[in-house]
Point group: C2
Chain length 308, copies 2
C-alpha cells in the first residue's frame, strides 16, 4: 500500500458568499467540509488512481471527529493517531461574484512529546506494509523542526521509497536525510538553495541530498532533476481554473510512477497532466479523469542538459 | 426563572489575523469559540445580573456538541432541543491592524416539522416555571414565518411576560400576537412601519400590537414607547468600543426591569448603561460591571410627548 503522512491534517471548510467585503456582515450561502491537509489530498488522488492507500498523521477534538467521519466513506484507510489537541480548520471564502478565494488557515494543535513518540511507533509499524510513503505539508506546533528528517531516515532504514513535500527549514533538514524525491515549487527551491534559475536550483537541491527533485513551475509545468537526466514537462498551453490541489495531484502521480517504475519522462508527463486535470475540475482538489486522458498525449517533455 | 429562546443558536468563532486582505492566504493567529445566538447572549447577561436563566432553542451536530460543552460550565441552564441538523457557526474575522471585524454567518440547519413540534412541547413545559421569556434572533430554515407569533401567543396564554427581538416578517407577525415588549433598532422599525422618525415609528408599532416598544438608536441610546409614557435615554457622550452584544445586553436589562417591576425611566436608563458597558468591555458580548455602575447615574432620561 501507499502511505501518506499529514502531521497537520485539517478540516477544509469552504464558504460561498455573494461578495467578500472587508468589515461587512455576510450571509454564507453554502458551507462545505472535506477532510484536508496535503497528505490526505494525495491519498485521495492515489486511491482514485487505483492504489490502496493509508493516511496517517494526527487528529483530535471535535473537528478531528468530523474529519474522520468524512474520511470514513472514502477510499483511503484512516490510520491517524489521536491527540488531545483539536485538529485545525482551513477556511476558503469563495467570492461568488469574482470566483476568487480568500484563505484563512488555523495554526493547528500543539503536539506533545508523548504524542510524537506514539506517532513514531505507529509510523514504524505502517512502514512495514508500505510500498512508498509521501510526507506532506507543514509541521504542527510542538513538533521539532527535524521531524521530517527523522521520518525520512526511518523510511530509508525500512527500505521504503520516500517523497517529501514541505518547505522552509523542515525541507532543508529533510533533504539532508536523503529522500528519494522532493517536490518544492520554484519559490521554495530558491529559498532553499539561493538559486533563482530552476534547473540550477534543482541540481543544487540534489547535491544537498535529494535523490531526485521535481520542481513545480506553476502553469509552466514541472522540472525534474534526476540521476537518469533532467526533464521539463508542460501542457501545450497553460490551463485555467482552480489550482487548489494541483500540487497534491502531482505528488500522487510522482509517487505512483516511482512505485510502478515508470521511466522519468513518462512520470513527469503524467504528473503534469494530472495537475492540469485538477486545475480543470470544478471542485477544488478533485481531478477530471477525462481531461487527464485527453491532456496526457499532448504534454511535451523536453530533456534539459545539466546546467554548466 | 428567566427563559430565553434562540431557535438559530450558533457557535460563535473568532479568528484574529494580522490584516485581512481579500484573495490572499492568511495565517490565523488566534481562534476563539463561545456559545452564541442572541438569546444565549441575553441569558448570559441575565445570569450575570443575578437571575436564574434557562436557554432553549435548537442544537445539533458536531458544532452543537461544542456549543453545549462550552455552555455547560456557564450559569444559564441548557434546555436546548436536539435536532438532526448541524448548529451553524458565525465567524468574526478580526483585523489586528485596524481592529475591524468582518462577519461571516452560516445560514443554520433546516428544522423539520417533527422537531418544531417537539420544541413546542418543551417550550410549553418551560413556560410553567418562567417569570418572563425573551424570544431572540433569526428563524432557522424550515421554520414557518409565523413561528414567533405562535411562541408569543403561548407565553401570553401561560401568563408569562414576553419580549420579542427579531426583524422583518417574523417581527411583523410577532407584533400582531401582542408581545409585552419588542426591541427593534431604528432601521428594523422603519422597515416595519414605513416611518423614519423613531418616536412616530415606535408609536406605530404599538398600534400594531406591541404593548411597549424599546427602539435602539445605536450610539444615541434607546427610545421607549410605553403605556406609561415615552422616554429617550442616552449616555452623556457616545461610548467607543465593540458594539457586539450591546443590543443583547439591552434586552437583558429590559427583561430584568420588567420582571422586577422597575419604573420605565429607570428601566431604560439601566438598559442604556448596560449596553454602553458592553461596548466598553474588551471581549465582544461581555459587559464591564464597573463601567455599568459608573455610567448609570450619568444616563439622561428625557420624557417625550406623544408625536402629533
Amino acid at each position: 500500500m501507499m502511505l501518506t503522512v499529514t502531521l497537520n491534517a485539517a478540516l477544509d471548510v469552504s464558504y460561498r458568499v455573494p461578495a467578500l467585503v472587508p468589515h461587512a456582515v455576510h450571509r454564507v450561502t453554502e458551507v462545505r467540509e472535506r477532510p484536508g491537509g496535503k497528505g490526505v489530498n494525495v491519498a485521495r488522488v492515489l486511491a482514485a488512481l487505483g492504489h490502496e492507500t493509508v493516511v496517517t498523521g494526527f487528529v483530535g477534538g471535535p473537528t478531528g471527529t468530523v474529519l474522520r467521519d468524512l474520511l470514513a466513506p472514502l477510499a483511503p484507510h484512516d490510520a491517524l493517531v489521536p491527540i488531545a489537541g483539536t485538529t485545525r480548520r482551513t477556511l476558503a471564502v469563495i467570492d461568488a461574484t469574482t470566483g476568487d478565494t480568500t484563505q484563512l488557515n488555523e495554526p493547528g494543535p500543539t503536539v506533545t512529546a508523548d504524542e510524537w513518540a506514539r506517532f513514531l511507533d505507529a509510523y514504524g509499524a505502517l512502514l512495514r506494509d508500505a510500498d512508498a510513503v509521501a510526507i506532506c505539508g507543514s509541521l504542527p506546533p510542538g513538533i521539532h523542526v527535524g521531524a521530517y528528517a527523522e521520518l525520512v531516515r526511518a523510511a530509508r532504514a525500512a527500505d521504503v521509497p520516500v517523497l517529501l513535500d514541505t518547505s522552509g527549514e523542515p525541507l532543508r533538514r529533510g533533504i539532508a536525510a536523503r529522500p528519494d524525491l522532493v517536490k518544492p515549487n520554484v519559490d521554495e527551491l530558491a529559498q532553499l538553495t539561493g538559486a533563482r534559475e530552476p534547473l540550477r536550483a534543482a541540481l543544487s537541491a540534489r547535491r544537498r541530498g535529494a535523490h531526485a527533485v521535481a520542481a513545480s513551475l506553476g502553469p509552466d509545468g514541472l522540472l525534474a532533476a534526476t540521476p537518469d537526466g533532467n526533464w521539463h514537462a508542460r501542457t501545450p498551453t497553460p490551463v485555467r481554473g482552480n489550482p487548489t490541489g494541483a500540487g497534491d495531484s502531482a505528488v500522487a502521480a510522482l509517487l505512483a510512477g516511482l512505485v510502478d517504475g515508470v521511466p522519468w519522462p513518462e512520470r513527469v508527463a503524467r504528473a503534469v497532466a494530472l495537475s492540469a486535470a485538477t486545475v480543470l475540475a470544478p471542485a477544488a482538489g478533485e481531478f477530471d479523469a477525462a481531461a487527464y486522458e485527453r491532456l496526457l498525449p499532448h504534454v511535451t517533455v523536453v530533456e534539459r542538459p545539466p546546467a554548466g
